[in-house]
Amino acid sequence: MASLITVQNVSKSYWRDKIEIPVLNNITINVEQGEFLALMGPSGSGKTTLLNLIAGIDKPSNGNIIIDGTNISTLGESALAKWRANNVGFIFQFYNLIPVLTAFENVELPLLLTKLSKSQRKKQVETALTLVGLGDRMHHSPKQLSGGQEQRVAIARAIVTDPVLIVADEPTGDLDRHSAEEILTLMERLNQEFQKTIIMVTHDPHAAERAKLIKHLEKGDLVEA
């Protein structure tokens, strides 16, 4: 299968008070289209940093990240923002829904950046929310939803633009076991039924078991499990 994501010799360092702190060391990894990859590792291993680089919300200090033919490490802020809007769906640990908006409005947010008409947007939002099992909770605000339901809204927001890549940072980290299972099942379904490429960061081996491929990071290096 063709490689959707190519990470070539990527390094990332942060500067704190004139001290360079290396986070990722010369990482090279390929992710195929339709893959469900779990990135595991202890805290500070660099797994979230690697996810952020692949998702285009941070830039590598060195190396290239090529996604679906686009070298995103060379894109400017504005171009990168557009690229993210068109290509990546995000699922966060703490859902990160806008509290003053309803489930429908939260899911509609990424579509406001497209040229879709109001009726087209409505149709897509309803489809996404129905897919995650919240067709009957569209007009509920986040505070009226449980943690698991909030995360499902976040998943609907991530898939509503039909992105080529979904990134999830500890998507079950804030959920109880039952809700976590539901979310993982949903992600599995997105991968298997809809062939979505998913990269998930988790420290939970049980969650990682749902992925097709697991990679481990330790102190900024990819290591064999």
Partner: protein, 386 residues
């Protein structure tokens, strides 16, 4: 769902905080409006002065009188079109709080030189005919419900005794800033009584009102008039009506300057209050801005969201403030002694300034939060703990 809806929802997210800020802006705009109205009304009395009218008064002080005999001499000065005169009468109408100008004037000429006082020919003729008649401004007639034919009795203080007048005319103001709070009656009616009761005070007028042909020659004509009475027992000082009025206004200049200054200080203070609200709001939403950036929202969108939220609060506060300024100024006008300000109205420029100030506050208050939101990187935003 539109961005505008998100802006409104954000603005009202913390209802108490937003409401208090809106109330703060509203109060500041009202205070600004009232203070500016007082300042502009004060200044507009100067603006209302005619350019081709001169005032001749006693050189030592306005409170000293001038001989009536000066009238003809002034009239003969080249460039002088007409001369009238007035004398401050004072007195009390019913109650001390009923303050308005009561002037003993020359009925034959006063309406020729004060052409912004509009009176019908019939009323003017009746006024001229009857020695104890008077003409009052429309505002006085309205305030005290006086009609033509009614009697007005003044209790004299500068000119002691009971003074009875019959209203024979009500003049209308020609312009919005024309003083229609004056009571005008025959100087000769007062003077005749002075001749009997206090002869030393008879034959004097307060000041001359000189109508000239050409406003550009005001300085030259003023000099010519003053030269006429040089080294006399009552030397004169002639100046334009504007300068004369300015003299009164400048006596209160420090207070007016302070009010002017305060009106802008209030705006400055409330700007800091809104800026504080916006900084708090933006700080609380650091993570949300990171989410929006992640989803592909650009700097342009974030500027719109933050500026929009600030503007919504500022415009609601400013709008309510401006709307309430009108009834409050009307109430203020009722509360101050009648006639203290001959006219009291909100200039359109005051409304424009108040609303512009509110909009400016909205813009300035959003600058720092915008700068912060744009500078914060997405990953830093996600790590932020508010």
């Amino acid at each position: 769902m539109k961005i505008l809806k998100l802006i409104f929802k954000n603005a009202m997210r913390h209802k108490l905080r937003s409401s208090l800020t809106i109330i703060g802006i509203m109060i500041a705009v009202i205070a600004f409006g009232v203070l500016r109205t007082v300042v502009t009304v004060w200044d507009s009395s100067v603006d209302a002065a005619s350019a081709n009218r001169l005032i001749t008064r006693q050189a030592v002080s306005f409170i000293f009188p001038l001989p009536y005999a000066y009238k003809e001499k002034i009239k003969n000065v080249e460039g002088v079109k007409n001369v009238s005169f007035a004398n401050w009468f004072g007195g009390i109408y019913k109650d001390k709080s009923n303050f308005f100008a009561r002037l003993a004037v020359d009925p034959e000429t006063i309406f020729d030189v004060m052409q912004e006082f509009l009176i019908t020919d019939e009323e003017l003729a009746n006024f001229k005919k009857e020695r104890n008649s008077c003409v009052i401004g429309a505002d006085i007639a309205k305030q005290y419900n006086i009609k033509v034919g009614d009697q007005m009795v003044l209790d004299g203080d500068i000119f002691p005794g009971r003074w009875e007048f019959v209203v024979r005319g009500i003049y209308q103001p020609k312009n919005k800033n024309t003083d229609d709070t004056q009571m005008l009656f025959h100087w000769s009616y007062v003077d005749e009584r002075m001749k009997v009761e206090s002869p030393v005070r008879a034959g004097n007028v307060g000041w001359y009102i000189v109508l000239i042909d050409d406003a550009n020659k005001a300085a030259e004509i003023s000099d010519q008039i003053d030269v006429l009475f040089k080294n006399s027992s009552a030397e004169t000082k002639t100046e334009t009506e504007k300068a004369f009025t300015q003299g009164f206004v400048s006596a209160s200049g420090a207070i007016i300057s302070a009010m002017n200054f305060m009106s802008f200080v209030i705006i400055g203070i409330i700007m800091l209050v809104l800026a504080n609200t916006m900084i708090m709001a933006a700080r609380e939403r650091t993570r949300e801005y990171a989410v929006l950036k992640t989803l592909g929202f650009s700097a342009y969108h974030l500027v719109g969201l933050i500026l929009g939220e600030s503007m919504v609060i500022a415009i609601i506060g400013g709008g309510i403030g401006v709307a309430l300024t009108y009834p409050i100024v009307a109430g203020f006008e009722q509360a101050i002694p009648k006639g203290f300000f001959p006219f009291f109205f909100i200039e359109p420029i005051t409304t424009i300034l108040a609303m512009s100030a509110a909009i400016l506050i909205g813009i300035l208050a959003s600058i720092f939060p915008i700068q912060r939101a744009l500078k914060t990187k997405i990953v830093e935003g996600f790590r932020f703990v508010g």
